[in-house]
């Protein structure tokens, strides 16, 4: 996997910026807070960063399918799975791990399937459909659970301790990557890239673009389910509001990872790098003592890094298309 990853970085120029940023941040972490590299530090980092990594992965296939299909609803979808697991399942005494995991994955996939069907058969622009999904789910989340509360199932409690690197949360990540590696080897993946790059060309070449789009959404939904599980493990309870903020963060991670919101370009590696970079930025900033303004410094730094990395991307990509 890692050799493959290195080859990918050297070949795909859109990965240059996120990979370079990753190395810079790694050095910064080593200087400012080397405790991240201890067992405890790594375990905690995996726990804290995995909801964002998985959410970024969830929107990756959907964005790759093109048509400006930024899935705005992914954050609230994650929140919806979180609150329904806590309120409907655990609240009614259903704590069987198999049921909970199936519920999360199936619910995510089902919702994304619904959105894909609306996008394809009602033929409304994806961003409008997902905006509407965002509003509906943010509202419904608060109706299911009016304030943060509840407890995660007992078997999940230990996940949130974050004391061991080999935790079930890491297993979620591994499952997600394994799934992605399998997808990459399929015909579907090539069709997905083609559809995203030029939908009309793909259609005329005989690609079933509607089917590609449906599969991309369903895969995104499965990842959203995994993201919801890791998020539930992280907070060990239900929270109807936090999910929404993950939308903007996930889109940010995706773009930081070198994906194009116009589709056709992007991948799991880029999205993961983007999400890890975001985590490391806030980690490094938290080692400085800014007192009461630290939250604002983090926000400003995010903004500036986002702007900077987009600008560098512009140059890297324009050089590539010129060549």
């Amino acid at each position: 996997m890692s050799g493959n990853a290195i080859r990918q970085v050297t070949q795909d120029r859109s990965l240059f910026v996120p990979a370079a940023l990753f190395l810079v941040l790694l050095v910064a972490v080593a200087i400012r807070g080397p405790s991240l590299f201890t067992t405890n530090g790594l375990a905690g980092a995996i726990l804290v960063a995995s909801p964002l990594i998985l959410t970024a992965l969830a929107i990756t296939p959907i964005v790759m399918a093109g048509r400006g299909a930024v899935d705005l609803s992914v954050g609230p979808l994650m929140g919806f799975i979180n609150v329904t697991v806590i309120t409907w399942l655990v609240g009614n005494g259903i704590t069987n791990p198999v049921v909970v995991i199936c519920w999360a994955v199936v619910l995510g996939a089902a919702f994304q399937l619904l959105q894909a069907l609306i996008i394809i058969y009602v033929r409304v622009a994806p961003i409008i459909v997902t905006l509407s999904g965002f509003l509906v789910l943010s509202g419904v989340n608060l109706m299911v659970m009016s304030r943060p509360g509840g407890v995660a199932p007992d078997w999940m409690m230990s996940w949130g301790a974050g004391t061991s690197v080999m935790s079930p949360v890491l297993a979620l990540l591994i499952v997600a990557y394994a799934l992605w590696v399998v997808i990459r080897r399929t015909m579907f993946y090539r069709n997905l890239c083609m559809t995203g790059a030029d939908e009309r060309m793909a259609y005329t070449s005989g690609v079933q673009v509607d089917l590609v789009r449906i599969i991309a959404h369903v895969i995104g939904g499965v990842f959203a389910g995994l993201a919801a599980l890791s998020y539930t493990a992280l907070i060990s309870s239900g929270d109807p509001t936090q999910g929404s903020t993950y939308t903007l963060q996930a889109v940010t991670a995706l773009v930081l990872g070198g994906a194009s919101l116009s589709g056709g370009r992007g991948g799991a590696l880029g999205s993961t790098l983007g999400a890890i970079n975001m985590f490391m930025i806030s980690y490094v900033l938290s080692t400085f003592n800014f007192g009461t303004v630290s939250g604002f410094v983090t926000q400003m730094a995010f903004g500036l890094i986002l702007v900077g990395s987009l600008l560098v991307n512009v140059f890297v990509i324009s050089r590539r298309s010129a060549a």
Binding site: R67, V124, I127, F296, V297
Partner: protein
Amino acid sequence: MVTKVMTSEIVSAQRSNPIGTHKSISIGFALLACLLLLGALLVPGFVSSQNARSILLLAAFLGLASVGQTLCALVGALDLSIPYIIGGANILLPSLMVAGLPAPVAMLLVVLLGALIGAGNGALSFKLQGQALIMSLGVGFAAVGAVQIYTSLGSQFGGTVFAPVPGWLRNISAFNGTFFGLPIPPVIIIWAVVAIALGWVMYNTWFGRSIYAIGGSRTAAARLGISEFKVWTVIHSVSGAMSAITGMLLLGFSGGGFVGVGDPYLFTTVAAVVIGGTSLLGGAGGYGATVLGVLVLTVLTSLLVGLGLSFPAQQAVVGLLIVPMVAIYARSPHIRNQI
């Protein structure tokens, strides 16, 4: 590659929209009439000058915030920095006044800063086109972070700023504000003036027509000697300035600076633009359509409040209604009809 996708989308938008826009405006009016009728029938006290005033007041804020979003949508961009600039202006103005600047000077400064951030946003995002929305998000984060750092230096209340709001500013935006003795909050008049002026500019000036030309076809606009970069940057700076103005007017409404005041405007401005019938891919629609969208959205919310729905339920209902509303007039053609 990216440009190819963009142009293909613009072509499809163009084909489907010239008729679509007129249809969307008549449907918008019909929808507004239906909502008003429903309100009159179902909600006691819906037809009253009190309620009309509160609807128009809330619509005015959303309408002013949506000016920039409409202009950006017309060239196929989205400005996600709007809520952050609103929030930034909302806390920057009082803290500048506490620092001793007279209110008019402080307001001018805030508007200029808003326009400047907008211009920077436009200039930086121009090359990105399809990803412009993320650039505007980054610029918004950076701007609001900087404002918050500035306002919280030497204060322990991060994000909230306390300062006496001048009486006249309060009057402009308050529910019981008066305009030359008339019981109309002046912000409604401001909105009306902005809407009329903008409508005139859009249809009668070279600049206004340039926006439509670029939204319609980049190549054709370039042949006409229109500088796409200039239009793009000016539009974004107008958006920044309007957001700053909205943020300051909201200060008069709420009475205290709070950075989160702009948050609801991120998705509601997009919703208002979309419901009005302006295509997010550019070229079709206009501010008149957005005014209609804003009114539909505000009347709908007021109706839902009158029916006793909680805020989350309102949000869910509005979300549920967007897709069918847009589906009536803005369905894109099937891929086999786009080739």
